[in-house]
């Protein structure tokens, strides 16, 4: 169990999340991809924590979870609000302000 492998997995998950944010068009899916990126960060934190033998990384992971939960509350509120007024959660439809 070499911790390096977990870091590769974290980097891979982060990349999948980032690609999803850029490619997907549904605001909810985009938001889920951001959550995936945050979870990739958590995996990196606990792997590094294991490597270095201190608890800083695990504490960071706890804080990240709390922040992610708070972000879900705000994010879903905003996305549901825009869905109710437009009947669409596509990020392409939100284009009232273009140059």
């Amino acid at each position: 169990m070499n911790p390096i492998n977990y870091l590769y997995l974290a980097a891979l998950l982060f990349t999948i999340g980032a690609a999803g944010v850029l490619l997907r068009r549904n605001a909810i899916v985009v938001f889920m991809c951001i959550e995936l990126m945050l979870n990739a960060c958590n995996l990196a934190f606990v792997s590094f924590s294991r490597m270095h033998g201190n608890l800083d990384g695990q504490i960071m992971a706890f804080f990240t979870m709390v922040v992610a939960a708070a972000e879900v509350v705000i994010g879903l509120a905003i996305i549901v609000m825009i869905f109710r007024s437009r009947h669409s959660a596509s990020v392409d439809d939100a284009s009232l302000m273009k140059l």
């Binding site: 982060f14 804080f63 990240t64 994010g75």
Partner: protein, 553 residues
Amino acid sequence: MSAVADPVTVHSLWTMAAESPDKFKAPDIEYGQLAPTLIVIGAAIVGVLIEALLPRKARYGAQLFTSVLGIAAAFAAVIGLAVGDYGTSKARIAAEGAIAVDGPALFLQGTILLVSLVAVFTFAERRLDPVAHGNRVDSFAAQAAAVPGGDAEKEATKAGFTTTEVFPLLLFAVGGMLVFPAANDLLTLFIALEVFSLPLYVLCALARRQRLVSQEAAVKYFLLGAFSSAFLLFGIALLYGYAGSVTYGRIADVVDGEVADITPALAQTMGNDALLLIGGAMVLMGLLFKIGAVPFHMWTPDVYQGAPTPVTGFMAAATKVAAFGALLRLLYVVLPGLRWDWRPVMWGVAIVTMLAGAIVAVTQTDVKRLLAYSSIAHAGFILAGVIATNEEGVSSVLFYLGAYSFVTLGAFAVVTLVRDAGGEATHLSKWAGLGRRSPLVGAVFAVFLLAFAGIPLTSGFAGKFAVFKAAAEGGAGALVVVGVVSSAIAAFFYIRVIVLMFFSEPRADGPTVAVPSVLTSSAIAIGVAVTLVLGIAPQYFLELAGDAGVFVR
């Protein structure tokens, strides 16, 4: 090789729990030195309680009183700390290494608090919107959850509802902003970023007029903001992996190779420059997003245009101050050993930011979008001071931030006054001849535009001069040339607006200028006063910023 058998990886994770609980040392928190933040957060919690307990009619007054009192008390606490030499000789790291109390932190906290106090005035303005069903209303939605144009919205408007929750939201954002430039470890940095971002996302969605645009701005800001903070967090993870610690001082020591207690794991990660370089770049990315520097600026025009104008003013002024404070501390405290790597990158970012901001602004037809692109150009000018990497660099950036934030807030406050039947008239064509019809408003806006352009006798000139001087002394002469060129381009469109206001015929169906209450009037008056005082007699404030220019490590 299995981890358990390897003595290298047998570490404190298992031995910590075996220690006696008597040995647990309670953390030592310096409440006095953290007072500004604690007061603001406390006032925000009182604001939440007011929402829960007071009847609707009484909330507005109570919220306004709590916000003003909380911010003023926090500002008094900052002054108290500064007078007590915490900015200079007694500068120190408080709260077990989480928060720095030093010159730049106190200067920026003072600036943020003054800016937020003025922002509270613009938030509370209730004379501009026409009286609806006998109720005076502000710029915020009657009921944010109601569908725009639906029955619920009509009922809420008829009942005279107002979103007084904006005051606690503003206070929570201010609390995060106070911590952001003072954060002394990466965990505090991240938490502070989220604490001030999340309320701002909500505030963006709360406009009373043009609610669809406002909601769209909130979605864009939220998705891109969350995306950038994920990058910041992964950067933090990599830096933690590199240094085995999230404390600024410790990371700097590891970067410089000055640590004595190198464990085998640390020796392994220290040798891996990819962790350091990619991690540093990703953290920088997150901060540059908040600043609105060019590759990461795409959200700025849309969010500034869509958000309620008082929120835009607050966001443009205070977020920039906080984010530049955090950027300065990161570059000057954590990564000074890496400056030969980050300086060329920041050079590129600064040049592109200055030029793109100024050039794209020329084509804008909406006042709020114009000011958004102008804020991007100004971010570039401030970055020139950041790149100086000398003490004048820090103090000139501090001065510029103070000067710029009041001009921005004042300019957006003027934008709230110019109205027609649909709310604020932000299209530039409607501003034609405004200076002839309302000479005072036209003249005040002209003062702000001249300050943005950096004309002498305004604060903009003093700030730009200080920043460019520091950059030239720091060996960034080419950057100064680009800065002056883009200032000239920017001056074109500022002057164009002034010409439009004063030298073209007013339109018959043009907007009217609403007469504000004492709240917005005083916000604009403070903006003009600061602009002129910092322009005509900047010396005292330059010295103040100069005294505050040293980071504690």
